[in-house]
Amino acid sequence: MTEATTPEQVGSGTGAGLSTRRLLAVLFREEWRLHTQLFGGWRFALFPLVIAVLAVSGTVALVETGTATETVIGGLHVLAFAFGLYSGTAGFAGSDMLENVFGRLSLLLSSSTTLPLSRRRLLGAFLLKDALFYGVAFVLPMALGSVAVDGLSATTPLSIGLFWLSLCLVFAVGMATTVALITVRTRGAPPWAIGLAIAVAVVGIWATGGLGTLRTVLVPIDGSAVTAGGLTAVTLVVAAGSLLLYDPTYGRPSRTATDRFAALSEALPIDNAALVTKSLLDLARSSGGVWKPFVSAGILLALVAALVGVVDSITGIAPAPGIFFGGVLGLSAFTTYNWLTQFDSLEAYLTYPVSIEDVFRAKRIAFVLVGAPTVAVPYLAAVLWFDATLPDAVVGAVLLAGYALYYYGLTVYIAGFDPNEFLFDAVRFATFTLGVAVALVPTLVAGFVVIPPSLELVAGLGVAGIGLGVVGIVLSSRAGPRWDARYRTE
C-alpha cells in the first residue's frame, strides 16, 4: 500500500504546514510506489523504454512507407493530447470509475478529509505531479520519435528537447481541458449540456474551416513561438481558474432505479445469466451509461477515417475501407472489456458459489452483447461512407468479428480482470502490442496494397479473421483457469 502523510510531515515543525515542495515529493513517492507495487519495480521502470521503442519504430515505419512527416508529428501530438485528457481525470477521484481505480490506492489524495490540507491545493499539487511524472515517464519517450522524422545529427538532442516541450504542452492542454470540464460539472452543469457544448465546438470548428488553425495551435513545434507562448498562457489560466472554481463539496444526490434485474436475467437464455446481467446493469447505470463503449469506438472510427483521408490525399489511392476499418475497429474490444470490468472485482465474486471461470465466461457474453453493436454501427457507417465494394465490406465484417474476439481473448488472457492496470506493465503491454501487431499490420498492409482487394486476398483475410477469432475464443476460455490458479494460490 502506498504511504500517506503523517501528522509530523504535515506539521514539519515550521508552523507553516506542509510545503508544496514536500507535498510534491510525497506525491511522487506515492505514485512510484503505486506502480511498482502493482507491477514490480523493473516491469514499471521498463515501460518508458517500451514506449520509446514503439514511438521510434512506429514513426520510422510510417515515414518509410511514405507518410508525410507533418502527419506523423500531428499524430504524436494527438496521442499526447488524448493522454493528457485521460490523465486530467486522475486527480478527481469522484467519478464511478475513478473511485474504483484510484480511490483505494491514493491515500494521500483522500487525506484532505482527515488532515489540515486544502483539497484544492492537494488537487493542484496532484495534477502538477501527474503532469511532471507522465511528462518524463511517458511523453519524453514519445518525443524520441522525432529522431525518425529529423534524422540523427549534432542537433538531435535539441530537436528531441523541443519536440518534447511541444508534446508536453499539448499534454498539459489535454489535462487542463479535462480539469475545466470536471470543474464545470461540479458547478452544476448537466452532462448533456457539456456534451452538447463539445459537439457544437467541434462542428463549429469543422464548419468554419478552422481545423488548419487548430492544428497550428495544437502542434506548437510547427507554429510560431508567439502561438506556443499564447497556448501556454491560456493553459495555465484555464488550469488555475478551474482549480479555483472547482467545488470540492460537490456530490451527486442518491439515485434510485426500478427493478430491472429479474426481467433482464430471465430474458438471457444462458448459464450464469445473473453474472451477465450484473455486468450489463453496472455498465448501463454508471456515469456515461452504455454510450461509453460507443464513444470509444467512435473516437477510433474518427482516427481511422482521418488516416484514410490522409493516405488518400498523399497517394491518391484510398485503402480498401472494409478491410481497413474491420481490422482497426476490432481494437475497441480492449476499451469495451475495460468498461465491463471497472465496476466489480474478482475477489468479490469469490464469496458466492461461482468459479472464476464462470465470471470470465459471463464477461465474455457481456462483451459480445455490448461489443457487437458498439463496432457494428461505426463499421456500417464507414463502409457506406467510403463506398466499400461488397467483397471488401463482407471480408471487413469477418475481420471485425474475428479480430475483436482475438483482441478480447488476448486482453483477458494477459490482463485478467484488470486491463486498465496492465497498460503500465512493460512486459504485459509489450506482449499485448506484439499480439495486436501480428494480426493488424499485415491486414493494414494488404488493405493498402491490393486495391480493390482480389478474391484471393478476400479469401485469405476471411480465413485469417475466422482463425484469429477461434484463437481469441481459446485464449478467453483459458483465461478462467489461468487466473483462477493465480488468485487462489496467491
Binding site: 442518491s254 432505479a257 434485474f261 436475467s265 446493469l281 465496476f343 472485482s345 468479490a348 458466492y352 487462489r488
Partner: protein, 251 residues
C-alpha cells in the same frame, strides 16, 4: 455435530506466514468468536475455509466438504460476510439480493420474502431501490448482512459483523446472531471487538501470529479472568497490562 474442522492449517504469502499451524473445531449451535489483533491471520483463515484461496497445507472441512477440493460447493452451503465492503455496484439492494438469490439457485419468491424480512429487520426498506453505490457504508453493511443469510445457511462466516452499524442495529444484529446459532447453525465471527465477543459468543478462540493460542468457553463460568485479560495475556503477555496505554484503556 462438527460444522468446521481445522487441523494444521498453514498459509503463507511469499515470505510472510499468515497462518501457521491453526487448529480448532466449531460445532453446530455454536457462535464462535475468532479474536485476534490485526494481522493475526483471521481473514486469511476465513478465506481458506470458504475456498477463496488455497492453503499451503492442513486438513480442513466445512459441513464435511473440503473447501480446497470443492470451493464452490463449500460456498454454496455457507454464508459469507467479507471484511471489506462490497465493491461499487450499480444494483439496488433489491436487485443485489435477487442477484445473490439467483447465483445461489433460490426461488424468486423466497428471495422476495427474505428481502422484505431483512429490509424490515435492519431498517433499509426505504433504500431498497437506491443504487448500492449511493448508500452509506452502514446501509451497505446491512445489505451485505442480508446477503450472507438470504439462503439460510447452516454455517456463516462473518468478518467484523457490526462495522459501520448504528447502536440500535448493532443490538438487533447481535440478538439475531445469537438466535441463529441457537437454531442448530454454526456462526463463525471474526472480530477485534472483545466486548461484543464476550456478550454474544458461546466460545472464543484467540489467535496471534497465525496460531490459535487459547480457547475459552463463555457459557461456563470458568476462571476469574475477564476475556480482555485472557486476550492480553495470550496475545501480548502479562507485561502488556502494565503499560501506560493499557492503564489508560482500563480507566
Amino acid at each position: 455435530m462438527g460444522a468446521i474442522h481445522v487441523d494444521g492449517l498453514r498459509k503463507s504469502y511469499g515470505s510472510v506466514t499468515a497462518v501457521d499451524g491453526m487448529e480448532f473445531a466449531v460445532d453446530r449451535g455454536e457462535l464462535y468468536g475468532f479474536l485476534g489483533p490485526n494481522g493475526a491471520g483471521k481473514t486469511t483463515t476465513i478465506r481458506v475455509l470458504t475456498g477463496q484461496i488455497q492453503p499451503d497445507s492442513g486438513d480442513i472441512s466445512v459441513l464435511e466438504t473440503d473447501p480446497v477440493a470443492e470451493p464452490i460447493e463449500t460456498r454454496r452451503n455457507v454464508g459469507i460476510l467479507p471484511e471489506q465492503g462490497s465493491p461499487p455496484s450499480f444494483l439496488t439492494p433489491r436487485e443485489y439480493l435477487e442477484f445473490v438469490g439467483e447465483v445461489r439457485d433460490l426461488e424468486p419468491e423466497r428471495v422476495a420474502e427474505q428481502t422484505a424480512m431483512w429490509a424490515d429487520r435492519l431498517g433499509f426498506e426505504s433504500k431498497l431501490d437506491t443504487l448500492h453505490t449511493d448508500l452509506s457504508r452502514g446501509q451497505q453493511q446491512k445489505v451485505m448482512i442480508a446477503q450472507a443469510f438470504v439462503h439460510e445457511p447452516d454455517v456463516v462466516f462473518i468478518d467484523e459483523p457490526l462495522a459501520n452499524l448504528d447502536p440500535l442495529v448493532q443490538e438487533q444484529v447481535k440478538q439475531f446472531l445469537v438466535s441463529y446459532a441457537a437454531g442448530d447453525n454454526a456462526v463463525f465471527v471474526s472480530t477485534h471487538n472483545i466486548d461484543v465477543a464476550e456478550e454474544i459468543c458461546t466460545r472464543v478462540g484467540i489467535v496471534a501470529d497465525g496460531q490459535l493460542v487459547t480457547e475459552r468457553s463463555l457459557t461456563d463460568d470458568d476462571g476469574d479472568e475477564s476475556l480482555l485479560e485472557v486476550f492480553l495475556d495470550r496475545v501480548e503477555g502479562e507485561d502488556a497490562r502494565d503499560t501506560p496505554t493499557l492503564e489508560h484503556l482500563d480507566a
